[in-house]
Amino acid sequence: MGTRDTREIYGGSLGVGRFLRERGLRGTIAYLREHGVRGAVENAREDGRSLLGELRGISVAYLLLAPTLLVSAVFLYYPALEALELSFHQTLFFGGERTWVGLGNYETLLSSSAYHESVAITIAFAATVVVGVMTISLIVSFLLYEVDWGQSGYLIAAIWPYALPPAVAGIVFLFLIHPSIGTLTAVIEGATGLEVDWFSNGRQAFFVVAIAAIWKQLGYNVIFTVAALNNVPATLKEAAELDGIGRWSRLVRIYVPLISPTLLFLVVMNTIYAFFGTFAFIDLMTQGGPGGATNIMIFDLYRNAFEFNNHGLASAQSVVLFAVVSVLMYVQLRFSDERVHYGA
């Protein structure tokens, strides 16, 4: 984390980091074999600080972290590993009945064209949702920031979808544009001349669900974006106005770089939302249909687990999903390293 943070004044590091850096892994192991751990610790730590003092500080640090690490280990990591183990079985009745099939589940996934389609659709869906959410929330937040009065009124109206539970959002949207009994269906058909028919038209279903997912996530993004904009020093806004820079170029050239750490944070959170959090819309509106057009991975996983009681396959899918999202996350963070401007 850049230069050493002078805040870290409790605890101690036993000089482990420095020790490793100086000697490299093999050197350290050789040293340990020769002097034993006690000798190494004795030598490695910075002089002048009592070994006991540092050890006490370090144990306090781990004690403070214990609840978080314990809960993470027991209720997040252990079940995740169990899921991995489960993915090598065929299961029935909520995992009660399980027979070992090794990579059987993974083979079915690799060979099933439906699953390949599902992966492709998921990535397209995630991209649409993330881009849609980021652009619209940025525009709305920026307008909110620019407007001098009535801000809190607009704000409440812009962030309330965040409070809406996903299942409820799904039901409400189902009723808004249900092809035959939707409240808005007639209006939309009148206005755009399109035939609202997303029960049978795959592309339409994809966009309808994407719009619902985007709409739900706007609130969360507006909160963070407006907060970040508020943190940008006001002098910059005045300076830009003096130079006569237009509103939208001001947004793109000045504000976006300055709030890029927040935007990066939001891209990561929106990606996780698009992959894992949009299941309710699919489950309530299209059930992955029509013809698998909206069968995103998390829905397929959920249906295998809870409708077909095939937890083995579902676990395999969760492993693949985890891998896909990790790769995407890594790319995002790597890509953004140069673009994100820290310390606004």
Partner: protein, 396 residues
């Protein structure tokens, strides 16, 4: 009250050596100032004394106790920070007492007594129930000082406490700090990058650079007898002029030859060894004076600023130079003069109408010349012979 002793104090951060094995002693009750450019290790040294940094090597002793491995609060020291470090959500009074109330077993009556006393000393009685955001910079700094005084520690440690204040307030706070030190007499280590502050506040001044101590001395000694080029150029504003010269044995006194002039240097026994060697001549702008066109270089020169030294006025010169730029500072006029390829500054009386382009003849105060080794920068010669006589007199 207690003295502070650092022996072979070293502090390395990964690949950077911030403090490189320094030995330093702050006498009991002394106001010791550590001065140097940013990144010279002065703050790190202070933090090692405070215990906020653990030294890579060497020991820290306060009073006669080795505190190197002790926690900061066991060292009976108090520290004042550059940004005051006041808790924004607590009143001034709560700020001053939060530490004592949570970590010591003083009775609250005792604490209240100390707060009242400290507030009186600093004149902040009416500020006690206000929050930092409602105080000015100077007031916040006084509250920070109050927090240190309330602890009645053995040592005060101050990390550039005045640099956030505006110039006028800084001068005022300087006099207050001196008065405070007179009154309390607590041993104080004061870190600053401002050499004027160092000269005015310090009983003694430690000049540091690149993690090493360049010189420790009283302000006037530092000014008059810098131990190397760095101290010479760092102490004193405007800085001492440095000209590359060669030394030659003269008839009676050795001769210093520069491409544009040669001058005699009085009774410099050490210079014989460097006969023909190259060195660096140093003289302060106020020790050079401009002779009027008419008078001979060696005669006494009316417009030379007296430096309060009554004894014999030996001068040396002449140096022919042309004025490049003049900077009127109100009480003096600073002339940037050029002789040959070198440029140097000369401080003369104001309102003498000197202007850029004038050709002038300069004479130097023969008792205020310095020679430094070209490679090491170490001082090899100070023309003033008073040093032994003055050193013998007892400290003020």
């Amino acid at each position: 009250m207690a003295s502070i002793e650092l022996t072979d104090l070293t502090k390395r951060f990964d690949d950077v050596t911030a403090v490189d094995g320094i030995d330093l002693e702050a006498r009991d009750g002394e106001f010791l100032v550590v001065v140097g450019p940013s990144g010279c290790g002065k703050s790190t040294t202070l933090r090692c004394i405070a215990g906020l940094e653990s030294p890579t090597a060497g020991t820290v002793r306060i009073g006669d106790e080795d505190v190197t491995a002790q926690e900061p609060h066991e060292r009976d020291i108090a520290m004042v920070f550059q940004n005051y470090a006041l808790y924004p959500h607590m009143t001034a009074e709560r700020n001053m007492t939060f530490g004592m109330r949570s970590a010591t077993d003083f009775s609250s009556a005792e604490i209240d007594r100390r707060v009242a006393q400290a507030a009186a000393t600093l004149g902040i009685d009416d500020l006690l129930d206000r929050k930092p955001s409602a105080l000015s910079g100077g007031e916040q700094q006084r509250v920070a000082l109050g927090r240190a005084i309330v602890r009645d520690p053995a040592v005060f440690l101050m990390d550039e406490p005045l640099s956030n204040l505006d110039a006028k307030l800084r001068v005022q706070m300087r006099t207050e700090l001196s008065r405070l030190h007179e009154e309390l007499g607590t041993t104080t280590v004061y870190v600053t990058h401002d050499q004027t502050e160092a000269m005015t506040l310090g009983d003694r001044v430690v000049v540091m650079n690149d993690g090493r101590i360049q010189q420790v001395d009283t302000p006037q000694e530092l000014y008059d007898y810098p131990s190397n080029r760095f101290v010479a150029e760092f102490i004193g504003d405007p800085a001492m002029n440095m000209l590359e010269v060669t030394l030659e044995a003269g008839s009676s006194d050795p001769i210093v030859r520069h491409e544009a002039f040669t001058i005699e240097v009085p009774n410099a026994p050490e210079t014989e060894a460097l006969d023909g060697g190259r060195a660096v001549l140093g003289f302060r702008p106020e020790d050079a004076s401009i002779a009027d066109r008419g008078t001979s270089p060696t005669g006494s020169v009316p417009d030379r600023r007296r430096t309060g030294r009554g004894d014999s006025e030996r001068t040396t010169g002449p140096i022919e130079a042309t004025v490049q730029v003049t900077e009127p500072l109100g009480d003096t006029l600073l002339c940037y003069c050029r002789a040959g390829d070198d440029e140097f500054k000369v401080q003369t009386a104001p309102r003498t109408g000197r202007a850029a382009g004038d050709a002038v003849t300069l004479t130097l105060d023969a008792d205020r010349l310095h020679l430094f080794d070209l490679e090491t920068g170490e001082a090899i010669y100070h023309s003033d012979t008073d040093r032994e006589r003055r050193a013998a007199t007892p400290e003020p």
